[in-house]
Symmetry: C3
Subunit: 201 residues, 3 copies
């Protein structure tokens, strides 16, 4: 069983649902909500693929991704009220999602022959820019730039992954450690209301 693929699909599902719920909240119609769901889930990876020159972008050659968006639409519209009660589980899967998206972004960029610094950046882009584009389309300043240790958690997770890959040959363990890093940092930062601002006053 390919766990990475399964986690990737689950990540896409959770991201899409969160996007669709945001869209419904903003009074978007059905097609608009589908677009926002798709952009939230697949926008970051698409931007990465376009920039590193891996086109057609990844999800285009595997229809399971679009199918997942469709399922997210059904789930969101049918179980809207129930999902809102599942916020804690959503938060967990969302964090697993950004952790995994970071790692997959790092891997794909390294595989394209680019520097680790670029790979690290593209890992963050993969994880957070779907949400950024969603925020731009719904006309709010991207939250991740202001609140929580969100992108920074991805940065830390990406760093852990790259370092472990250089010293250990254990892909799954390295991925697990990296995702654990993201989950722990994000959990602690939300719990303690951390943010990463430099003040010199």
């Amino acid at each position: 069983m390919n766990w990475i693929y399964i986690f990737d699909i689950v990540g896409v599902l959770v991201f899409a649902i969160s996007g669709i719920l945001t869209a419904i909240d903003n009074d978007f119609d059905v097609v608009g909500s589908a677009v926002i769901g798709l952009v939230t889930a697949l926008g970051g990876g698409s931007l990465r693929d376009v920039m590193i020159g891996e086109t057609p972008v990844g999800w285009m050659t595997d229809t399971n991704y679009l199918l997942t968006i469709l399922i997210a639409m059904l789930v969101s519209y049918l179980f809207k009220k129930h999902i809102l009660k599942l916020r804690k589980s959503m938060f967990f899967f969302d964090t697993i999602g950004i952790g995994l998206f970071t790692i997959l972004g790092v891997q794909k960029t390294l595989a394209a022959g680019l520097d680790v610094s670029v790979a690290l950046l593209m890992g963050i882009v993969s994880a957070v820019f779907g949400g950024v584009i969603r925020d731009v389309l719904t006309n709010i300043v991207p939250l991740i730039f202001r609140r929580e240790i969100y992108a920074a958690a991805c940065l830390a997770g990406g760093l852990v992954f790259i370092l472990l890959e250089q010293i250990l040959d254990t892909l799954y363990f390295n991925m697990g450690m990296s995702m654990l890093t993201v989950v722990i940092i994000r959990y602690l930062s939300v719990r303690n209301n951390w943010s990463l601002k430099f003040t010199s006053r």
Copy 2:
């Protein structure tokens, strides 16, 4: 005479004019208005081409497209007041435009060897994302996500085209039926103030 090409250019002209008029209304200067006109008319197709890996993007290899933007600038500034009276004709050509852009987007994506579901999506992207980017740059929430059956009309038109192409060998007839679908759905939805929202209250 290549009718597809002519309709494509007319579609670009109408989209560009609508973008430029929006820009003028928003107090943009001349260069800014030209950028918004260009983005409205060519942004959707550019996004599609970049994502499916067909670069340089289409309009770059045929200078008639940039020339059309230039003509749109002249027409918009010189006949601004007259154009506003032509709203009905503009609406007609705009709808023809999104219908045609949908079909051309579907065709190009299929020609790149991608799945029909991706082609359908890229058809919609070709037709509506120029307007979406225009709205983002002028800092309003993209209207097409909220009002009217706009993207949904493209979806229906794209579906009709793909289905007909599978059973009939008559390209022009198939295109005509597809565009008629878009025109009728859009006309009825604007006339009756339809929107596509799912409510479960």
Copy 3:
């Protein structure tokens, strides 16, 4: 000594600093500010590269660019108050920057075998779209579309460069003339509060 490369890096540094300061003003956290700095400095060129099909985008294959963003972060946070006093120098380097970015964009697009009209447009995109994306992400209507002769100065500079290249074989002189054009137009337009709006009332 490769002056073009040095000016390019200095341009990136100045653009990044201006982006980071904007981000700090908007209450962005450290990672968000870095993203805005990067986008401001490298976003225009990235958009150009993606559209003309030169991927991976330019800065990805030379780590000095990311290093420059890092230095811009350090400089911005450590010397924030001092930089604000250097506005005049910043303005000078910023204008040098857009002049140079215009020329480099024109060159790269011509080298990709595209028409001069496309090259001119991509020159402007290289110079101004970093700032446009910054404005979109911080949720303000891109200023360059409304105020000052900003994009128009790039247009003029790009035109001067293309014309001189056609009649003179003196690359550095041509670049110098082109940048001087941008600097003079921008200086005069800011000084005299010029803007380029067409009114027919």
